[in-house]
């Protein structure tokens, strides 16, 4: 049953314009940033003279793409169960022997994989872009340059963002919440990261507690990464693998756990019945 629901959801998403539009968008963003060799060009992230195939730049890009992905994930994950309420098809499913957990996890997994596809588009853009940039601005190509940042940014971030919107869409049964919370979330991240960047620029690094706090309250790990690499020289940025410190990994782990908890709460609170349907008009 889970497999049936999962495959149907995946198939649905592969034809969902939102999925392929964002896959293409991420591919293009990756490509145009990493193929550009002009050191004074500023796109979504500052590239400078840093090697295009460095873990540092790849991580920066993936962290930024995570923020942009909120808009797509809000609707891919948020709608995966909500669409049954929107189209009033929920009772077809609720009156089959399909188990609640299979219904929810099948839909969630189907949307998760579709979101992963969007990020794979981004990675492909990043890799092909750096090839186009030429050898002058690239170091030695390594699988880990792409693999490690993907594991610490893409996977935890998708888990958290998708779980958040899956929970909202499934339990609130309203697209308005998806719009509102995705916008608030993005504004929050911009404000938080902007504030942190200002602090770092002004050299206010003594207050360790504040810095740790600022790292932890950025669910997508952008601040945590910034703290770890703020003093890096060009040579470190070119060659060093991103620092997998205890606090950094703890930060990533914490938000992943929060995501999983949101999914568990959704599974507990969700009811396959007519009484929990919000627009229900009883007679």
């Amino acid at each position: 049953m889970l497999r049936t629901v999962f495959l149907k959801e995946l198939k649905y998403n592969l034809r969902n314009p939102l999925v392929y539009t964002f896959t293409l968008l991420f591919l293009l963003i990756g490509f145009f940033h990493f193929s550009n060799t002009n050191p004074s060009w500023n796109g979504l992230i500052h590239m400078g003279k840093v090697n295009r195939n460095s873990p540092y730049l790849v991580s920066n890009m993936l962290s930024t793409l995570s923020v942009i992905s909120i808009f797509s994930i809000a609707f891919i994950s948020g709608m995966s169960v909500l669409k049954d309420y929107k189209y009033n098809t929920q009772f077809f499913f609720f009156t089959t022997p399909l188990r609640k957990s299979d219904y929810l996890s099948g839909r969630y997994a189907g949307s998760f994989l579709s979101i992963l596809l969007i990020f794979i588009g981004g990675i492909i853009g990043i890799i092909t872009g750096s090839y186009f940039a030429g050898n002058g601005i690239n170091g030695v190509y390594k699988v880990s340059t792409y693999l490690i940042p993907s594991l610490v940014f893409i996977i935890p971030n998708i888990i958290f963002i998708s779980a958040l919107f899956f929970a909202i869409g499934t339990l609130k049964q309203s697209t308005i919440y998806l719009y509102a919370i995705s916008i608030v979330f993005v504004i929050y991240l911009f404000a938080l990261q902007g504030f942190t960047a200002d602090l770092l620029r002004n050299g206010l690094l003594e207050n360790k507690l504040l810095l740790h706090f600022l790292s932890f309250i950025d669910p997508l790990g952008g601040n945590a990464f910034k703290m770890e690499t703020v003093n890096w020289s060009l040579s470190l940025k070119n060659n060093q693998m991103i620092p997998l410190s205890f606090l950094f990994l703890l930060q990533r782990f914490l938000w992943t756990v929060i995501g999983i908890l949101l999914l568990i709460v959704t599974n507990i609170k969700f009811k396959m019945d007519s009484e929990s349907v919000k627009s229900n008009t009883d007679e």
């Binding site: 189209y87 009156t95 188990r99 007519s274």
Partner: protein, 295 residues
């Protein structure tokens, strides 16, 4: 097969008593639940379809406790909600195939045959590759019926299934249900008396959450035989007649009002004895119920 509903009650948080101590025994065949809008029909059907909990009472299908063994019931349940939608982007075939799979027809060849047979029965086979968003109201309704009947359900619950169907479609729908009703229990709700008259083996009249009558349509009709009287009056006279007689229904016919009265003997010599119908049973019961509430 046997469905036993005992003392079922449900009051909504807004104070509406949707079901008031309902008890019914239903066996194989078509069972019609007749009542005006807001009578509690949908509440009762949703409860039987495992979608809603009752405040008190019990429902047993054979040995299965319907209110507590929901997963078990869903293995052989077919349900058509009163109000439903479809995936606009999906074709009739694909959506029905998906639902059939969830209903447990896992073998792909079995499923293909079942989907084909069902779409043919509801006359949608030729439109199987069309997107559901292009379907008319009647076609959508037929799709809903197909999903309720697929997978050989033993308990079929259909809520106002004939709403939105044209007469020919309604007829075809009645035939379709009658065909499958032999070995299963079909419960369907309607506010249209003809739906019940034409096809139901047994029936109940429900109003404001209470069962007013329950039995075989023919017997219910015979109980009021020789007691229904008719007279054509001016429209303006209706109020006067309603005061003096037990007017259970009135109908416009050629500019005049034709009233029907329930009475053991001829109320006046200008009243004419007519053959009692199921409609009279229905209106008499509603009339008496209102009277009782009013007093």
């Amino acid at each position: 097969m046997f469905l036993k509903i005992s003392n079922l009650s449900k009051t909504y948080s807004n104070g509406v008593k949707a079901l008031n101590n309902v008890s019914l025994e239903i066996s194989n065949g078509m069972f019609g639940l007749l009542g005006p809008n807001g009578a509690g029909k949908s509440t009762m059907l949703r409860t039987l379809a495992t979608l809603q909990n009752a405040d008190s009472g019990s429902v047993f299908f054979e040995n299965t406790d319907v209110l507590n063994q929901k997963e078990e019931v869903r293995k052989w349940l077919g349900y058509l909600p009163q109000d439903f939608g479809v995936y606009p982007w999906s074709t009739a075939y694909n959506f029905l195939d998906h639902l059939a799979r969830l209903k447990g027809i896992s073998d792909s060849e079995d499923r293909m045959n079942a989907v084909k047979e069902m779409l043919e029965r509801v006359n949608l086979w030729e439109n199987r590759k069309k997107k559901l968003k292009t379907f008319s109201g009647g076609m959508k309704q037929r799709f809903g019926i197909a999903q309720a009947l697929i997978g050989n359900p033993k308990l079929i619950i259909v809520d106002e299934p004939t709403a939105g169907l044209d007469p020919a479609e309604r007829n075809r729908f009645h035939n379709l249900l009658s065909e499958v009703a032999e070995d299963v229990i079909i419960i369907f709700s309607t506010h249209i008396v003809e739906d019940v008259k034409d096809i139901c083996d047994s029936m109940a009249i429900i109003n404001k959450g209470k069962i007013l009558a329950n039995g075989i349509p023919g017997i219910l009709i015979s109980e009021i035989e020789d007691r229904i009287w008719e007279k054509a009056i001016e429209k303006s006279e209706l109020e006067k007649y309603e005061k003096d007689f037990k007017v259970i229904s009135s109908q416009l016919k050629g500019g005049k009002k034709v009233i029907r009265i329930y009475s053991g003997n001829q109320p006046r010599n200008d009243f004419q004895l007519v053959k009692s119908t199921l409609e009279d049973v229905y209106f008499k019961k509603l009339y008496e119920d209102e009277l009782e509430k009013g007093s």
